[in-house]
Amino acid sequence: MNHLINKGNKPTKTGFGEGLLEAGLRNPAVVCIGADITTSVGCNFFAEAFPLRFISLGIAEQNCIGVAAGLALEGKIPVFSTYGVFAALRTTDQIRVSLCYNNLHVVIGGAHAGVSVGPDGATHQALEDLGMMRILPNMTVLSPCDATQTRVATIAAIEQVKGPVYLRFGREAMPDFTSGTMTFEIGKSQLLVAGDDLTIIATGHMVWEALQAAEILETKGLKARVLNMHTIKPIDKEAIIRAASETGAIVTAEEHQVIGGLASAVSEVVVQNCPVRMAFVGMQDSFGESGDPGELMEKFGMTAEAIASAALRLVSRQT
């Protein structure tokens, strides 16, 4: 049974801003690059605390990545954040060559993840960023589940990783349910609910939905295991293989295209090691649109109910 309680809704971008500030207080080598939307992506705490270590570069994301590379070559730890659609997609070539090929420790914060961005609509809803980033050699990709975990993950990204990191977070206030003292290890998923009938592997905002889905399934007599896959790369193969062999069915849940994202990453492990039936909850190869975050999550089938019904269909197919 799920013992995690929502301490109150909070945007994950705030967790990113808090983590950046905390890491900045500890290490003077941490610098931050702004691309005009500093407050909107949570970098304002750092910018106010360390104005001399905040480098404003304007609306020029390609340059931001190159400058970050130059700073990293000189021993700084640059953190650059903008909306994920620009952070990961406009600058993919710069990230590939200047960051990944040089294997430089730069933390890229991809804000405005998923359709929960809401009324801004499709251009600003990052739905392909995880896929783009995880195919790049040397890249670490993080997708924490709530504000508290985003703070912890941001600090880990800055202090523990050697190469480039892409860390994804959202805009809307969402349930904040993990604790700062929970073990967080990059590359190791978290078992949030024990269960043997099937496994729900979720990432980002969808982890809370997965927890609710497990409760719905329990009322139907199914005990679902819930894994928080906060690291998309390197993916936790061991936990995925164990889930496949012990529960025999896997539902993935992400606020991202199922093509290229968590669904693909998990499938790659499953098919090579322990093929089982799978279902994918997430964006099904379409763009988002304007609307309230809740309405959009429902319209595009990224809710607890959607996960539960996908799970029921999957399990009934098996029997």
Binding site: L57, Q62, N63, V67, E74, Y101
Partner: protein, 264 residues
């Protein structure tokens, strides 16, 4: 020394059987001036923190960088013959992961080096360091928009420790730059972005020395040296011929080219 570097460029490319000859030959005088007269560096201590940095944004002219580094003593001249071969530290476009001493950046995708140089220059300012950052660009490369994002940032942050060098040979793969996508008025573009502009003959060591000598005279401004060069410089039969941008000589041709250079 420029002639020696040209010979090494030709022989390493002939051995590699692929690569970019024209630009590498055109840049030989710039590299010679930079590494043998201008830079504060120590080939025995390639990671010395106070060294001047050289960022090669146009990775395709790696042969001239490699030849220069070898003749400076960063590694043996014999190693130039491994260019573009499996397991070599001399990748077709520079790759740091292979561990070549003296190489500052893996690069090859055009338009990225100036941003990296800006980042290095900002870091030097933050740390109150006195070294300079030199970045080397092609003229065709200036068609990339990201160059101008970086140019804007360099003057915004008053990076007078940054010197960009533009290899103005007027040619790119499809032909003359002014026909493919015109760059003129080029000096005016840089000036309007807040840079100090110095123009010179990029195949004249004398003019290059004076150009480099004049850098840093405009306080609070980055400097660009627009160096007019001749693609393929040194080999009369290929000078100014854009078809030699991405071509290499056969072994026989290479011998002929090197003999031509020996006579100069």
């Amino acid at each position: 020394m420029a002639t020696t570097i040209r010979k090494s460029v030709i022989s390493s490319l002939a051995r590699a059987k692929s690569g970019h000859l024209g630009g590498s030959l055109g840049l030989a005088d710039i590299f010679t001036t930079l590494y043998f007269s201008v830079l504060t560096h120590n080939p025995l201590k390639p990671k010395w923190t106070d060294r001047d940095r050289v960022i090669l944004s146009i990775g395709h002219v790696a042969p001239v960088l490699y030849a220069t580094l070898a003749h400076c003593g960063y590694f043996s001249v014999e190693e130039l013959q491994t260019l573009r071969k499996l397991g070599s530290r001399l990748q077709g476009h520079p790759g740091r992961e292979h561990g070549l001493p003296g190489l500052e950046l893996s690069a090859g995708s055009l338009g990225q080096g100036l941003s990296v140089a800006v980042g290095m220059a900002i870091a030097a300012k933050m740390d109150h360091k006195k070294h300079r950052i030199y970045s080397i660009h092609g003229d065709g490369e200036l068609q990339e928009g990201s160059i101008w994002e970086a140019a804007m940032a360099a003057s915004h942050y008053k990076l007078d420790n940054l010197i960009a060098i533009v290899d103005r040979n007027g040619l790119q793969i499809d032909g003359r730059t002014e026909e493919v996508m015109s760059l003129e008025p080029l000096a005016g573009k840089w000036q309007s972005f807040g840079w100090q502009v110095i123009e010179c003959d990029g195949n004249s060591i004398e003019q290059l020395l004076s150009a480099f000598g004049n850098t840093g005279t405009a306080q609070n401004k980055p400097t660009v040296i627009i160096a007019e060069t001749i693609m393929g410089k040194g080999i009369r039969s290929i000078e100014g011929d854009y078809r030699w941008h991405g071509k290499v000589p056969t072994t026989e041709k290479a011998v002929e080219f090197i003999e031509q250079l020996a006579k100069q």
